[in-house]
Amino acid sequence: MRFDTPATTNPIDQGKVVGKPIHRIDGPLKTTGKAVYAYEWHDRNTRYAYGYVVGSAIAKGRIRSMDTAAAKKAPGVIAVVTTEAVGELKKGKYNTAKLFGGMEIQHYHQAIAVVVAETFEEARAAAALVKVDYTEEKGAFDLAAAKDSAVEPEGGGASGAGDFDAGFEAAPVKLDQIYTTPDQSHAMMEPHASIAAWNGDDLTVWTSSQMIDWWRTDLATTLGIDKEKVHTMSPFVGGGFGVKLFLRADAVLAALSAREAGRPVKVALPRPFLMNNTTHRPATIQRIRIGAGRDGKITAIGHESWSGDLPGGGPEVAVQQTRLLYAGENRMTAMRLATLDLPEGNAMRAPGEAPGMMALEIAIDEMAEKLGLDPVEFRIINDTQVDPENPERPFSHRNLIGCLRTGAERFGWRERSKKAGARREGDWLVGMGVAAAFRNNLVLPSAARIRLDREGIVTVETDMTDIGTGSYTIIAQTAAEMLGVPIEKVAVSLGDSRFPVSSGSGGQFGGNCSTAGVYAACVKLREAVAQKLSFNSAEDLIFAESEVRSGDRRMPLAQAVADEALVAEDRIEFGDLTKTHQQSTFGAHFVEVGVDVATGETRIRRMLAVCAAGRILNPITARSQVIGAMTMGVGGALSEELVVDKERGFFVNHDLAAYEVPVHADIPHQDVVFLDETDPMSSPMKAKGVAELGICGVAAAVANAIYNATAIRVRNYPITLDKLIKELPEIS
């Protein structure tokens, strides 16, 4: 099904199942330990071997030699597979750094060997016996130091309209500030893990992947085998946030070592490998300049961002939202990319907008103060209903103003002290902050197969993944709505490369696109049912209560099935509605903090997000996505920072004790409001993404609340107490 004209009325609009607060259909499995994750597949007739990874101890250089003699002699060892023995491997399309193979070291903890033994304990002990001789080279690890050497990234990425320099120069009120965001880690709970099993030339891999087909393709490329020979499965994924978008070393090592060992091998990356072996959100240095008239209208807005990556990598597109979020006739954005020899920088929840909004939304708060305007009103004054760089291009649907107004009302924004540092409750300085939320709506093709059996059971098969997002549930809701059956009659099978290729999970496109793919397949199945039941056309049929109805004629749905199940498969493909119209999602974050006047410790007291993101397919799972993103945003504001050892070139705090993500005690009750809307330009579902929208702006709302509480403006994340304590008021 090609989606190239705005959606009109369709069965999803009935809203009998879609849009209802239905509890996760996989909930009972996940709460009882019956959901099986990658490392947990077990066949009682198979003897699995265990692989333990060895990572590079240097950040840049070459391996001179590897001595595996002691490891090979260690008890229980079956095989030692080294990067030296394997030699150069082809790199997957989506990987910047190579995952394994060859003597070159590109970053710390790059995989250089895997030791396979009968037990995990034996493999781990023997891995410690691998001796490596390196030739170390000097690398670049410090973004600030490399900033001046940064170049325009491939493809440019600069944008503009009007004359920014002249507009900024002429503006009566100006802001020119630098903001920094640190490297961040996804820190999902399930480490990367794979089990690989060969049957002749055929390879089966149970792994933890957000994108089944990308992994399958890149694994085949890396191993130099035919993609058709590779079968990958990830029915349950213990979080990803972007780090499981692209093939990772565990799958490659499991496949290579299973071939060497001649039996299935399990490989999990130890927790410390997550930070330095895989990908991270790159640090940024951002310069923002805003010029406005005394009426509060922005006349010039400029945003530049510097980030670093390994050779062949890309920039963190932190300027993305500034092209679209606020009006203003004179505009410029630009990015510069430095070469750094840190581990690979790549997508983490809302790449671009998440760090970009961390900076932009502080700048907007600062500018509102300069203008003497309420920060909610300043944002409303500068709303735009068209793409400001291309005014002939409207937004498909944009209700940022509704988010801001609803949020201000619900949060009690009028109680906020207009003067910073003026509200004190005992030992606490109290403040409120606001930020806009903004994230583009991306669309990717997505396919599904639907089977209807004689008992009226509908089975959906798609290689879509559920990484905690609620895919199982919203896909079941979509099929139930389309075919008029109770949700209990829908079975959903996900995350298997034998199923039609879906959008996968990422970029907040998964919910909208994968359900649109299921919609397309259901339309085909409806046509097949109509034909089997001898209705003239599927178009005016009503599918309800497990029946098919047209006028007075009613037939049980299951009657369309003869001996064999009725099967339909289709794929949604998107035309150019995303080009003719700017499709984005909007929101507003409101935060109240208390800052301890003596210690500078910040505590979050209240949080509210109001989101305008098209049709909400399931308010329970959508709300969970948003509160989760708000929580990650708090981490970004207050504690999350990968600390770079600028001498040795690695992230020092590579575990969950030292890389501090929010815990229970850090997060209060959170409120989320979804504005009631649909976006017919987005897909037949009229839905957009929410999972990444929820993080965009949160950290800035926290930063702005801290400013409102303390009158201290911190522009370098995370806002730890050492950045506040020197400027806090004297206490007796």
Binding site: P28, L29, T32, A35, A74, E122, F241, L656, P662, H669
Partner: protein
């Protein structure tokens, strides 16, 4: 279960051994130091109860309780998130008290009674805490969930037993089940999906129902 003192010593030894492992990976020049202690593979027979059923295993002494459950008994409801005692995904109940199964060796649990998530309830017969997690959507990816649920069940018993926490204001009064107490006491269980707000609501509901 052995005395806390004995566990402390064993835990320190374990940490020393794993620190050496990490050092070798991160600093090749030290790679000669650590060989002898780790190459000796010794096993011990251990018998303990898991979810009410007596289990006898012969295990490599280095096997954590977590790996004994997951890799030897195939009870994979208990999750390995960090293997360092930093995330809480492996929380189980040992003689009714919560513990990180990754931080204790299986052979230390001769005669102990261990309860994992699978022992609390099954999909068709959910424990009240499991049902409350489903109702309040107290999870997303589900990987921290077993630890959260086991931890919360034991945590409520700790409050009922009047064991104070960092946020308990009055040590002489009976401990109360408040949101602050729940958040403080559950902070050893990390949820990166960020379901905390919902988890606290699930626990609060169960606490109220029982009280």
């Amino acid at each position: 279960m052995q005395s806390p003192g004995a566990i402390e010593i064993s835990r320190r030894d374990l940490l020393a051994a794993s620190a050496a492992t990490v050092t070798v990976v991160s600093a090749h020049s030290l790679s000669h130091a650590q060989t002898k202690a780790t190459t000796e593979s010794q096993s011990t027979k251990v018998t303990f109860k898991v979810n009410g059923e007596s289990r006898e295993l012969r295990l490599d002494n280095r096997t954590s309780l977590l790996d004994a459950l997951r890799e030897h008994l195939h009870l994979t409801g208990t999750k390995k998130g960090c293997d360092h005692g930093q995330c809480g995904a492996c929380t189980v109940l040992i003689d009714g008290r919560r513990a990180n199964a990754c931080l204790t060796l299986a052979v230390m649990h001769e005669g102990d009674s261990i309860t994992t998530l699978e022992g609390l309830g099954q999909p068709e017969n959910l424990h009240p805490m499991q049902a409350a997690f489903v109702k309040h959507d107290g999870f997303q990816c589900g990987y921290c969930t077993p630890g959260q649920i086991c931890s919360s069940v034991a945590m409520l018993e700790e409050i009922r037993a009047n064991i104070p926490s960092h946020v308990t204001r009055d040590l002489t009064a009976p401990a109360e089940i408040t949101s602050d107490e729940i958040r403080e006491r559950m902070s050893g269980n990390i949820c990166r999906c960020g379901a905390y707000s919902n988890i606290v609501e699930a626990i609060t509901e169960v606490a109220g129902r029982k009280a």
